[in-house]
């Protein structure tokens, strides 16, 4: 916690402190730690939110392993792998953006935020291509039931469960990506206005935590949804 600028802040906490320091905090370091902790508390609720879906998915998959494996013929693991790589690059640029904010490199911060947004949009673009392929393939058992599973009719009903999980899990993840991109645009505008400095970059840091969390969710979605077809009996 002891860093270079917090010592400066501590000595001038009540006289001429940073305009970003709220009065219920002792110093900028404490304020920063509180914000980080608060963001983690929010992320814990997100862990439980996605955790419930992962749990339900595993239960149904253990009940109908053959049916779930049969759906993998309709997933494209290559798109999944590409999107994983895209998200990991975006996480790298996000981490570097936070670093740039901390050392006060304004130009680098703005560029890296734009890079992060770009890769976030790439991810959503690939996801849209995939959803379109599922639609053409008649594998959307949701609204209206755009569904045909005549290639393996014995699994038709159980495979619907798998695709419902697929669309709900990837859909909620994509929703989080949309929120993340909107968040990054906001941070970008703030960065352009010169809001951030080595003494105050908390919004960049906590938005970064959110972005990395969404990346982690995908790290688990990718093997569970895309890479299951090559084994017959699962768990």
């Amino acid at each position: 916690m002891a860093d270079t600028h917090s010592t400066v802040e501590e000595h001038s906490a009540h006289s001429e402190h940073s305009p970003y320091l709220r009065h219920h905090f002792d110093d900028m370091a404490q304020q920063f730690d509180s914000a980080t902790l608060g963001m983690w508390v929010f992320l814990l609720t997100e862990i439980m939110f996605f955790g419930g879906m992962f749990g339900a998915y595993t239960v149904y998959r253990s009940m109908y392993p053959e049916a779930f494996a049969s759906t993998s013929a309709h997933m494209n693991p290559l798109w999944g792998a590409v999107n994983t790589a895209v998200l990991i690059v975006s996480s790298l640029s996000m981490a570097l953006a936070v670093r740039a904010a901390r050392i006060g490199e304004q130009k680098a911060l703005q560029i890296l935020l734009l890079v992060t947004i770009f890769f976030g949009l790439c991810f959503l673009g690939v996801k849209a291509i995939e959803y379109h392929e599922h639609w053409v393939d008649m594998k959307v058992p949701l609204i209206g039931g755009h569904w045909d599973y005549s290639e393996a009719p014995q699994f038709a009903r159980q495979a619907q469960i798998m695709f419902c999980f697929y669309f709900f899990m990837t859909g909620f993840h994509a929703l989080h990506m949309v929120v993340g991109v909107a968040l990054m645009l906001t941070i970008f505008v703030m960065a352009r206005r010169g809001t951030f400095s080595p003494a105050y970059f908390t919004p960049v840091e906590v938005s970064g935590l959110y972005w990395h969390f969404v990346d982690i969710v995908w790290i688990f979605l990718f093997p569970l949804l895309y890479l299951i077809g090559h084994t017959k009996k699962i768990i």
Binding site: M1, D3, H5, S6, A29, F32, D33, T36, L37, W40, V41, L43, L44, I47, M48, G51, G52, F54, G55, T58, V59, S62, M63, P77, L78, A81, T84, A85, I88, V89, S91, L92, M94, A95, L96, V98, R99, R102, I103, G208, L209, H212, F213, D215, I216, I219, F220, F222, P223, L224, L227, I228, H230, T231, K233, I234, I235
Partner: protein, 99 residues
């Protein structure tokens, strides 16, 4: 707040993560029976730890933040553990011989 990791560190972590993505994709093409999913999840867990410790920089966060991050996964293990203790063991008992 804490010391600032170097660009080099971030790039190395990124390279490992990308390599692990290729690995998990390649391993999935080989039939390992029930071990496919185990390997895939172990790789995913390893990748998650790299992201948390380095990209999210929890490694250098305050002990309180570390505790909260750990607590989240503790609760997740409780949730999933209770799930699986029930559902994944139901088939262990012969039909009609439940407690």
């Amino acid at each position: 707040m804490h010391s600032i990791p170097s660009v080099r560190t971030y790039v190395i972590i990124w390279a490992i993560l990308t390599f692990m993505t290729f690995t998990t994709y390649a391993v999935a093409q080989i039939d390992l029976g029930p071990w496919n999913i185990v390997v895939a999840l172990l790789i995913a867990f390893f990748k998650m730890m790299l992201v948390i410790l380095f990209f999210m920089n929890v490694k250098a966060d305050s002990p309180l933040t570390k505790l909260f991050a750990g607590a989240g996964f503790f609760w997740l293990i409780l949730l999933l553990g209770q799930f699986f203790v029930d559902y994944l063991t139901r088939s262990w008992m012969p039909e009609g011989q439940m407690w």
